[in-house]
Symmetry: C4
Subunit: 188 residues, 4 copies
């Protein structure tokens, strides 16, 4: 269920890149510029793809610790998927209007919500009794928890920055790998 | 087969939320209002996602009891999938025109049909000889049957309400969890 | 590979049903008629879904007999998938213009090609040395072969009829279950 | 993960073939010509489908040799998938404007990038210590490596040819099977 929805959401991200449709007669002259103008859209597509890929891998890593799914965990996952499935939509809007605050804000808030649900998900798992091996796993999950606060933290700072400079706020996500490296190194 | 189609139908629900496409020059002024106006669409998207997720879980629970699939059960499933695959379409229409009776009615009837096929599906399974353990299973299936009449029942009441107030009739589905709780508690 | 592509093709069939987009102000008056006019489109959607579901089940039944895939069988499958993936497109065109000969013809030819590749597929399998149990399987495959010529046969007669009455030619596929019943009964 | 994304990317290729939407009144007269004009689009769709199918099979063949996935290999795969998911987009643009250099160039560069990442992928696998059986596998991988340079090589020559004749450059990919045959025969 989760795997399929992640894969489909990641692939239909591409449908948000609107192919230019100039008249055939003008295409020779107009198309180069229009394709060049797509690069912000493709950039946001790549960022969204990477974030979704990261969430997916995290989800696998988290479920590695879980033995059984209770109905509460099921509901967390359903709301997680709802916010994941909305990402192609908010990516589309942000890609079309990377300079407009409200469009970029929609994207950041979507990522923020996914990130917060993920952190709650991890927190719930680490407190539950469904873990395979409690003592060892709790330690591993504590490390993960710091990493999971990272994405909502970065999304939150992107929200702040978007009030001053919408398009620059999209670049904040490029800091994720560096931040992850630091947390993995010093966060535990 | 069933799993993939459910996952894809749930994900392409998002394609029904039409991203606003104002001119770049006007976007700064116009986009906030247009995004705000999307909230009914996003609300209906979430309701449709939750209903589909519920159907999916129910389908898994039902198939848990089945040992072999005969050709009649196969046909029930195919017609079930046809009506499931139509949900992204009817959700799209209802999301675009939540105040127009016929648009909302299309959505309710689609949910009603899926719910009725599901009830018939359960009924067929509980009478068939393909069950693993007849006596215990029949008892469990009787409980489920009450739950399954719930969704078509709620969709039917939404149909009635839609004649008086189309957009209010969409809120009826919010009662599903409460109704489910009551049926699980007192229905058996 | 094959399963995923069938499931996706069947689900994106629904994207071919173009939701009406009247102005909000006119929607109350215009939408009922526009939704009513969608019924031919929904009818063709259901026919295409049923044909694809049938092909899918047939593919499973055929692969039941196969032990290994050689590179020739792989290529047959790739061309099969290409023509399967085109069905949502030709269904879309035929659903938009069910009275226009060329639109309906496109649909029939697409079904015809899928059906012919399937028959060739079966023929190749039944001659190959990859069968589990040659003597019993060859007999079972002979029965199947008659059934497989059925779909291209019906598509071919739909092609002929489409020259006289395009929209009536779409109804020909409703005869598939009856024809299948006869072939299963008397064809072997 | 990889399998699902390939299957979805291959299927949504079909969404790039834009169905003609003439007025109902004109459809009878105009549609035949418009459908005839779609053939270049369908031709490019088929080429893109075949290239993606080839990449998919290659990916399976490569992973056959891999025991464990380290984080570097994971990142190669994520960037591979990003460029794969972009193919439906670049195919759409090239299919709409097969005579415009920049549109066709976008397609060639996309294929080129996927091909280069694949070659790097193979190179990384063949040097890593995650192989099942080093000596035998390294020999098999050397043969594959020649085949893998083939696709970027052909895409690169298509880039060159596109400067002189955009639409002819799309035909270059028809040479892939022949080139593959020669490499398999004499390349090792």
């Amino acid at each position: 269920m989760v795997d399929g929805i992640f894969a489909i959401a990641m692939t239909i991200l591409v449908l948000g890149i609107s192919p230019p449709k100039p008249d055939i007669s003008e295409a020779q002259a107009v198309l180069p510029g229009q394709i060049f103008n797509l690069f912000p859209e493709i950039f946001i597509f790549i960022i969204a793809f990477l974030i979704l890929a990261g969430f997916w891998l995290d989800h696998h890593r988290q479920f590695h610790f879980v033995r059984t799914i209770d109905s509460h965990l099921l509901w967390i996952n359903i709301f997680l998927l709802i916010s994941v499935v909305l990402i192609p939509f908010s990516t589309d809007v942000a890609g079309d209007y990377p300079d407009v605050h409200v469009a970029v804000l929609l994207f950041h808030i979507n990522i923020l919500i996914v990130g917060l649900i993920f952190s709650y998900h991890l927190n719930y798992i680490s407190r539950s009794n469904y873990l395979h091996d409690s003592s060892a796993d709790r330690k591993a999950l504590r490390v993960l928890f710091y990493q999971y606060l990272l994405i909502p933290g970065i999304a939150f700072s992107a929200v702040i920055i978007s009030f001053f400079n919408p398009s620059a706020s999209l670049l904040v996500y490029l800091g994720v790998p560096f931040a992850k490296y630091f947390v993995e190194r010093f966060g535990s």
